[in-house]
């Protein structure tokens, strides 16, 4: 009988814990795009940002190098290899009702070549570009989805 009570209590506590943890997480879509003037290729998977990219930059080719769908928990940095020699560290530093605060660091050889903090509404994207890659540059497209 005591075992039943214990199991039920544990179940309720675990349910609450997992639900609260899941609610605290923020899904973030991270796309790493190579932009260059070599060719005229537009990656079909970049349809949704192609208009923005075309209006902002004069590159002729956009290729998706990598896509990561991250689930960020508050103050827990997630590091991904952006492209050779560079790492991207994303941390959820705050969560308001309709905006997530993200700290984004681009690290090269252990040094921050970029350290920024952005506030993103759901569905909005911030583009971070400039690091060289091959014949072009790399653009990181960071979108919050919640």
């Amino acid at each position: 009988m005591k075992k039943r009570v214990f199991l039920l209590t544990a179940f309720f506590v675990c349910s609450l814990f997992f639900i609260s943890t899941a609610l605290a997480q923020v899904p973030v879509r991270m796309r790493i795009i190579q932009a260059s003037n070599a060719g005229q290729n537009i990656d079909p998977s970049l349809k949704d940002v192609h208009k923005e990219l075309g209006s902002l930059f004069s590159f002729t080719s956009y290729r998706l190098l990598r896509e990561e769908n991250l689930r960020l928990s508050p103050n827990q940095p997630v590091t991904i290899t952006a492209h050779p020699g560079r790492f991207l560290e994303v941390t959820l530093v705050g969560m308001q009702r309709d905006a997530a605060r993200l700290k984004i660091r681009v690290i090269r050889e252990g040094k921050d070549i970029l350290d920024t903090q952005v506030r993103l509404s759901p569905g909005r994207t911030v583009l971070i570009g400039g690091p060289r890659h091959g014949e072009g540059v790399v653009i990181y497209a960071v979108s919050a989805r919640f």
Binding site: F12, L23, E52, L56, L114, R119, L120, R124, G130
Partner: protein, 170 residues
Amino acid sequence: MRNSCSSVSTVLEKYFDQEVTDEERFLVEGHLQDCPACRDALKSMEELRTLMKVPVEEAVQKEDFPWVWQKIEREIRLQKKRTWWQSLRSWLDVTPLFKRKIWIPAVATVVVLLLISTQIIFKKTPSYPDVSVVEYVESQSDNVMVYQLEEPKVTVIWLFEGPEEERTTT
């Protein structure tokens, strides 16, 4: 002294069932030697036992006990299955003392879950405008530019990274 038939008849059935003491056995056997009526009575008992024993043994031999067990098991299986609600209730059916202790956290959990899910389902439209705002930006090595366009609503952070050769020599 010769024992009377009436006194022996009281222990004759016990003698027949072999439940008499040594003394009673001596008494009955002594009487039976001299009394044909009691011998007949004893013989009648033996015949009656034979008459009863034979059909009972035959019936027992004929009886199919495995079949009986199969029937019992089938009846058990055919018992009405409990619904999930009955199973849950029986699982939660602990002593009245614990009943309240279990239901209080259970109800509290359900209420919390409902509140949370209601908030998610009926989430209002964002009170913030659709924004992507750069709160700060810095670089230890390169120049950085931030520009935000109204149409399309895009925020760009551009890092003016020097060529590889420059970086390796500096």
